[in-house]
């Protein structure tokens, strides 16, 4: 029943899902870094930085991810010759460009998640900290950030799960991940339902444990108010 799966080796089923995991991993780390920087800008005391952060988030999250991903290939690579050091290797190039696209897009959502986390810390906490004589860095280190960080885990987990599902868009520029393989398979094989079930199962396996674990973590660490 599952014979047809072994007919595909470029990519194989494992290879395709491994690619999905790799895309998620690198884009996740990249967007966490860039998103944290953006969040820092959005809450900073410098009006210009706040403006930039707000503009970035509002522009990027209103553009479809598909537009960004297709642009990295047709625009950045084909017209501007920006290949991110991949040279002529098209596979490596589209992999790196896809990650760049995911980082640009996902960072906007990471930024919003972190900002909402910071906003859940009541103003009274910082005021109380100052009232008992803590200085700025102590207030931040001991009072505000620990609380902000805990309430951010839940929203960030949701962003990570959305990112895992979003990596399928990379199929639009020919990255050999799960959706790309599914498109080839489902067009060539007769077992439509079975193929659908196999790939659906793959994504359930990828997203469900992440969600359960991080959800458990965020509940455990939640600040009781």
């Amino acid at each position: 029943m599952f014979d047809f799966i072994s007919d595909y080796d470029d990519p194989s089923l494992w290879g395709a899902f491994w690619m999905t995991v790799k895309l998620t991993f690198f884009s996740g780390i990249g967007s966490l870094v860039w998103g944290t920087l953006l969040a820092a800008m959005r809450v900073s005391p410098v009006p210009l930085m706040r403006g930039f952060g707000t503009a970035y988030v509002n522009i990027v999250r209103n553009i479809p991810l598909t537009v960004i991903i297709v642009f990295t290939s047709l625009g950045l690579a084909d017209i501007f010759r920006i290949t991110l050091g991949a040279g002529d290797d098209v596979k490596v190039m589209s992999f790196r460009l896809a990650i760049l696209g995911f980082i640009v897009y996902t960072a906007a959502f990471v930024c919003e998640a972190i900002r909402s986390g910071i906003n859940t810390v009541p103003l009274g906490q910082a005021e109380a900290a100052r009232a008992i004589g803590l200085n700025f860095s102590q207030t931040l280190r001991l009072i505000v950030l620990p609380q902000a960080f805990r309430s951010v885990i839940g929203p960030l987990a949701n962003v990570l799960i959305a990112l895992t599902k979003n990596t399928t868009v990379a199929a639009a520029i020919g990255v050999a991940e799960a959706a790309y393989l599914m498109k080839t398979m489902i067009e060539n094989e007769a077992q439509t339902l079975l193929i659908g079930a196999v790939f659906a199962f793959g994504f359930v396996v990828l997203t469900l444990p992440t969600g359960l674990f991080l959800g458990w973590l965020s509940k455990r660490l939640a600040v009781k108010r």
């Binding site: 930039f52 309430s151 509940k219």
Partner: protein, 305 residues
Amino acid sequence: MSSVLYDTPGPRAKRRNILLSVVFTLLLALLLWWVWRTMDDNNQLEWDLWQPFTTGEAWTTYLLPGLADTLKAAAISMVIALPLGAVFGIARMSDHAWVRGVAGTVVEFFRAIPVLLLMLFANELYVRSSLNISSEERPLYAVVTGLVLYNASVLAEVVRAGILSLPRGQTEAAYAVGLRKGQTMTSILLPQAVTAMLPAIVSQLVVIVKDTALGGVMLGFTELLNARQTLAANYANVIPSFIVVAIIYIIVNFILTSFASWLEQRLRRSKKSTGAVLGEDTVEVNPAAVRGGFGTGENTGGGGF
């Protein structure tokens, strides 16, 4: 300007802020200059490439029909997904364990799967099915099917959260005056929950509009992003067409987002409601975030699985 993170700036902090502003302006200017230079080096700033957008032809032949298809697919999906979502959302709160179980499994399943896989699968089903769907119409059917399956399950959670956000007293009062379970749902809970859900529903529309673009690239659905490709093939202006199309998406979605937050604020202020509102960013920031405990408005964080 004061926040939980810092005090109102004094003289020293003000000087530091000005210094930071200057440095940041320089960095931004450098970035803009680099973008401009790259565009110029690749001849993307020539007027010939931008000129088509000042004529009516590019708009009437390519962009507007594309936008119309985008909005059509989004509207159809929303109209089908909303009642379907309501049914599943209510079923998840049923008193019968097996109804809850079935509805819960269906909702969780379709939420865990990327919408692109649903579209590809639906497309192939329509290819092989005995239904008489012409090949021109098939992409629209596939896109709508994929979007409906995914968004109905997201909206089911919105509906559930909307009903749960109502004060318990509403249900208790309904039972006290002798209404049955069904009557309580249809004449007490749902009407109030719908107003509470409105901002979240409008925000979900933004997600749907953005996801239609997937159908354009992967299934050849003639929506805006697909129209851009035909347009760029005709005028040979890849970069300008991308910029124009991105701006169109931003404008459409910005209008929807602004409408959602206007609705949210209006509902928060209104005295008639119970004060329960599902914030627009609960769904918009991330469709998967709907499960968390919200309804208090400012607490979009801390949701969880």
